[in-house]
Symmetry: C2
Subunit: 352 residues, 2 copies
């Protein structure tokens, strides 16, 4: 075991503050990583503030962070995929049973014995896992991703959650050339959705309530921008979409978007409103539409996504901050005041 620097919260109402945590020495299958950048995900904030107490109550101290990019510093004797000096990344998961049908299908995110990057029972050290707001992490090589050398590292970090969360459903629902794809909500997830849909060759329409986001949406790759409060503009697109990615976490009128789907069209939610969403069944019946959810992606698909990003030169649009500004960043996140994702430069932790 060794000590690592981190930022942790001591309670649901505490600020994140500098702390010392313990990491395990790498076992034979582990990769030890010096963390260079860690993205800030809205999930971090929910977990730190125990806002998912019903589903995943927070164990304190809590060290969040699951959009991790760094450099390998040491590998266990049985590790074959990595060597010291390699770039590496870790996303939302750090272990799974590896034997269940979900794992065998490469969909570790649905494994019932999944170990999340933070706030999951830590079978090595006891307590819970600690995430990426830290200068180091030790992870089984099965859950470590290769980072292509041409990508900007600060903008790569958010790919590990915001990226795979939007890439996976687009692949699952066959987004491709000649498909018309909508993206609802231009935030951390939505802006990645636009980039992926564009790179996959689709005709991309962004739905936003903010006319001020039009220029940015076009810059990110949208072909059209629809102000969703404008019913006439919405109606022009009725029955025309193959796929809509809905990245809005607040309760909103999903039926307005379901009505825009063509026959066999799908709307996938990647945001998770706390309250049930009213769905008009008539809207589903008349074009055999479907409404579904998606949750990050498996390890193999996450690697595919990173390689896709390397090929198409895609990273997240980030505002890089030192870790000392993380509490301020959380306040801004609540106000959606970031374009489009915070990435913590972990060099800033050295001075703590």
């Amino acid at each position: 075991m060794y000590k690592a620097k981190a930022y942790s919260a001591q309670s649901a109402t505490s600020r994140l503050e500098s702390a010392s945590i313990v990491r395990r020495d790498p076992t034979e299958h582990d990769v030890q990583i010096e963390i260079l950048f860690c993205g800030i995900c809205h999930s971090d904030l929910h977990q730190v503030r125990n806002e998912w107490s019903g589903l995943m109550p927070t164990v304190y101290p809590c060290v969040p962070g699951h959009e991790i990019v760094g450099r390998v510093t040491k590998v266990g004797s049985a590790v074959t995929k990595f060597k010291a000096g390699d770039l590496a990344a870790v996303g939302c998961m750090v272990d799974s049973d590896g034997t269940c049908p979900e794992c065998k299908a490469g969909l570790e995110q649905f494994c019932s014995n999944l170990v999340l990057t933070y706030n999951s029972p830590d079978k090595h050290l006891g307590g819970v896992t600690y995430g990426g707001y830290s200068d180091a992490i030790v992870v089984n090589e099965r859950f470590v991703l290769r980072v292509p050398g041409n990508l900007d590292l600060a903008g790569t970090a958010p790919l590990l959650c915001a990226g795979i969360t939007t890439y996976s459903p687009m692949r699952h629902w066959s987004v491709a050339k000649e498909k018309k794809v909508g993206v609802v909500g231009l935030g951390g997830l939505g802006h990645m959705g636009v980039k992926f849909a564009h790179a996959l060759g689709a005709h991309v329409v962004v739905f936003t309530t903010s006319p001020g986001k039009r220029e940015d949406a076009l810059r990110l790759g949208a072909d059209e921008v629809v102000i969703s409060k404008n019913a006439d503009e919405m109606n022009k697109h009725a029955g025309s979409f193959d796929f809509i990615l809905d990245a809005v976490a607040a309760v909103h009128d999903i039926n307005a978007y379901l009505n825009l789907l063509r026959r066999d069209g799908n709307l996938t939610m990647v945001g998770a409103p706390q309250q049930p969403i009213p769905v008009s069944v008539f809207g589903l019946l008349f074009r055999r539409r479907s409404f579904s959810g998606s949750l990050i992606g498996g390890i193999a698909e996450t690697q595919e996504m990173l390689d896709f990003c390397a090929k198409h030169n895609i990273t997240a649009d980030v505002e890089v901050i030192p870790i000392q500004k993380v509490n301020e960043a959380y306040e801004r996140l609540v106000r959606s005041d970031v374009k489009y994702r915070f990435s913590i430069d972990m060099a800033s932790l050295k001075s703590e």
Copy 2:
């Protein structure tokens, strides 16, 4: 033009009564059919009572009926699929544009120029189309189905709506051997769902609120019956279903069923609650589940369904009534007091 006997309603609050209607002489592409049996669908009742006034306001007089089985009496000069004396059937549709992408995909039910069997504009005679509560109908051969000779005709009639409505989503969502399939609600639609899922080789679980339906569910082909009010019984099946067909038209707790789906499982509604249904998005995210609707089926698939029924000796369980009892049957339908579908013996119309 010629006169035909029928039963029609003069207003939303009228009883169905004996009436004389006009049918067109068969054009070159038409098939003239003597109707032998017509099933009673809940849609008939909704249309007659103008309960879908927002979506499809009823034009009176209204002659409902879209589960039609009969014998060909005459064919137009260009008709190739039928000859006088053949058994034939007509379902919910009697025409479509034939040129749109939906029609070309064999999914005429989604054609925006679809002509329904009743209450749609009649381009031949003006007014609206009249359905199967009649002794005759004239339909373009594209919308006439072949009826295999080994099927009981009274029980075949409901296949044209209740049958295809439940068969189509099972085929679309790949119900087959080694799949676990749920059917929610054991009524006119649900009992067909059980028969099809069983014949397709699936492990079939019926969900019902009525313990009294257990024996019947097993007789129809269910492998298990779950009383849906029993939370413990429900929980035993959590995360285990590949597909659930929900045939309940009343607003009900859909999330209890979504939670029973395994990863990538689908729940398809074929009933259409008037009010939006609250859907918990977390339930969809965690196993990439989907929630969808389905609407009858295309003509080619309807024929496939009839041929499947012939092979597996499947018909609806019907109570055969004379047309003089149709108003009483409607009252019983509202109370779900029928096992499981009424089929009108149209010979009874001769005495009117």
